[in-house]
């Protein structure tokens, strides 16, 4: 489907001259132009101070703070509904350092602990400057969310994952799992506006959209960005858009914010840039995650970073009884703690185990009946028989289970230090193998790679210089989320926080 969309875009571009007063120079072919030259624009159809492309958490947060900064703001959205992928998400914001909600519920936290966890538990060499600013301003950022009408219940959940118990605070990552529980003081940092049926994202976006509307942010649906307009000195000053099949040119006097999301639904891009994610069975995002914002930025010379990284999960919990089982690779060997945040295991399966893994359990750690996430591979009354039926190398699974059981009965896990509460021997038949592989189980994925930006959300070009007038935030950029994804709320947290930085900086950009 996404390939069809690209074809349509190419077709539109190849139509060259438009009804909107854009004359393209003779020596250029619109179908191959990566950005438009401002000299080619004869008439601007719409003029605004700040143009935001995309209406998810990044775009609307940018719009709110740009408007508060005194700018006229227009948000354009490709689809017929505002809210982006953020509205479909859990709506969790990773916040800490002593937020009002943490304090109200009796949890102490520090900026240092939060920074240490984010900076060290993900992929190597993360964007430390962004992490630092995010952590240092996290308390104030949470206040900003509350001030914009996002509702939080004064209630904590001790469950793993988003619960059904109206809680607005929980441990959303691996903070309590080894080694992080020893390296930095754990604190619950998943802040979620509770709404029945895990619809925190919908609640979050309803609040932010209402706040933006109240402030006078203009929004227009069914408008899709096509190309950025670049001045001879490199500044970005406009965008060519498609409005229901018609070309139009929008001028942004202070800045353009690209907040168009990731590219998981552009299957060509995923295959090219993130081949491991291409094999994951379930693209998990709103239909607008087509990479258009990333492509527009690259067309204007922006650097794109870490394009292969992404979110990939095939969760074994909830329910929590399953955590007492073990995950193994195709050699029947364990490769991680089953207790960690499910995207950490998902990352290892996707990127380090060729996308292949299995879940081994006994009667007590079995998956719930009727669960559709992972297909059953084999069932047996002994591990030896199970190993044979599932096709593991002879003795491999027996060794893994024997070793695990020998220590689990003493409440120990020398290999991955799973917490005692999740340790019990796998010794009660029937024993089962479920398929955790990325193409067999429900393996949700979306992308984390995107444009390079600085702490002000200004886009950086391939030479390492700021592109004046161009900003980006959320999954349109390479931000805080990495592979492995280390906690729910890092992504939407990054969207809202760096969306705001973009909006604030763009509004102040009056040059």
């Amino acid at each position: 489907m996404s390939e069809k969309t690209i074809d349509r875009r190419t077709l539109l571009a190849s139509l060259a001259t438009s009804a909107a007063g854009i004359a393209l120079s003779q020596h250029s072919s619109a179908g191959t132009r990566v950005a438009a030259d401002s000299q080619e624009i004869k008439k601007w159809d719409i003029v605004t101070d700040v143009l935001v492309a995309g209406s998810g958490a990044a775009g609307i947060s940018a719009a709110i703070d740009a408007r508060r900064g005194g700018a006229d703001v227009l948000v354009v959205e490709k689809l017929n509904k505002l809210g982006g992928s953020s509205a479909l998400s859990g709506g969790v914001i990773y916040a800490g350092g002593g937020t009002k909600l943490q304090k109200a519920l009796g949890f102490s936290d520090s900026v240092e602990s939060m920074y240490h966890y984010i900076a060290n538990s993900g992929r190597k060499h993360p964007h430390l400057d962004k992490i630092q600013r995010y952590c240092e301003q996290s308390v104030a950022h949470f206040d900003w969310l509350v001030d914009n009408g996002v509702p939080y219940n004064k209630r904590f959940s001790n469950g793993k994952g988003l619960g059904f118990d109206e809680a607005s605070l929980y441990y959303s990552g691996s903070e309590e799992a080894w080694p992080w529980r020893d390296e930095c003081k754990p604190a619950p940092r998943g802040h979620v506006p509770w709404e029945k049926g895990h619809q925190g994202g919908k609640r979050l976006m309803r609040s932010l959209l209402a706040s933006a509307k109240k402030l006078g942010v203009k929004t227009q649906k069914r408008v899709c960005g096509e190309r950025l307009v670049v001045e001879s000195d490199g500044r970005v000053t406009g965008m060519l858009v498609d409005i229901k099949g018609e070309r139009a040119a929008i001028k942004a006097k202070r800045g353009i914010v690209l907040a168009c999301g990731g590219f998981i639904h552009n299957r060509k891009m995923v295959k090219l840039y993130a081949p491991e994610l291409y094999d994951c069975s379930v693209p998990w995002a709103n239909a607008g995650d087509l990479g258009i914002g990333i492509q527009m930025g690259m067309g204007a010379g922006a650097a794109a970073l870490r394009m292969d990284q992404g979110f990939a999960i095939g969760p074994i919990y909830p329910p929590e009884n399953t955590i007492a089982g073990i995950a193994v690779n195709q050699m029947g060997q364990r490769f991680t703690s089953e207790e960690g945040y499910h995207a950490v295991m998902g990352n290892i399966v996707t990127y380090k185990q060729d996308g292949i893994a299995y879940f081994i359990c006994d009667k007590d750690s079995d998956r719930p009946r009727g669960d559709d996430n992972q297909p059953l591979v084999a069932e047996a009354n002994t591990i030896e028989e199970l190993e044979q039926k599932a096709g593991f190398p002879i003795g491999s699974l027996q060794m893994s289970v024997n070793y695990y059981n020998e220590h689990a009965k003493n409440g120990e896990d020398p290999m991955y230090h799973k917490s005692k509460k999740y340790l019990s021997p796998i010794d009660k038949p029937p024993f089962k193998v479920y398929d955790l592989s990325v193409d067999k189980s429900m393996y949700s994925s979306h992308t984390f790679g995107g444009l390079q930006t600085n702490v002000n959300s200004q886009v950086i070009n391939v030479w390492g210089e700021v592109i004046n007038g161009l900003y980006a935030a959320g999954r349109n950029t390479s931000g805080l989320p990495t592979s492995p994804y280390i906690a729910s709320g890092i992504s939407v947290g990054d969207c809202t926080f760096f969306g705001r930085q973009a909006g604030q900086h763009a509004a102040a950009n009056k040059s």
């Binding site: 489907m1 996404s2 069809k4 969309t5 689809l79 017929n80 509904k81 509205a87 479909l88 029945k196 049926g197 895990h198 619809q199 919908k202 639904h265 069975s281 379930v282 693209p283 998990w284 995002a285 709103n286 239909a287 607008g288 009727g370 559709d372 297909p375 429900m442 949700s444």
Partner: protein
Amino acid sequence: MKAILYWMFFTTKTAALSVTVALILAFNTQAESLSEFTGDAEKGRLVFAQCRTCHYPEKIIGHHNGPNLHAIFGKVAGKQVGFDDYSETFKAAQFVWTEELLFAWLANVEAMFPETTMMSLGVTDPQQRADLIAYLKRFR
């Protein structure tokens, strides 16, 4: 009174079914029809999985960003109790969800209902659409 209500329900549903047939005839302009394919529910499990960002077929989970899809075939569109976010298109809808209609709709979501707020790119492969439908039929 019961008899009148039953009669009203019956005639409404009959009328709705005729609208459904008209929609299928008008929009299923692709060469294929559902009857040409044998759906594989197990394959449909993964085809449908991306729809789970918004829709659940398990009755117990209820509505999400989109309405619940338990026993969806045979229901009049856009009228489920407890779901408040239908687009105007579906609030006003007067047709019954059938397997054939879903097959036609998902081929090109915006062609049939341009003002839908369903944020889906559809399922362009007809075999995959048949698989998805076979999977949904498990939930009734």
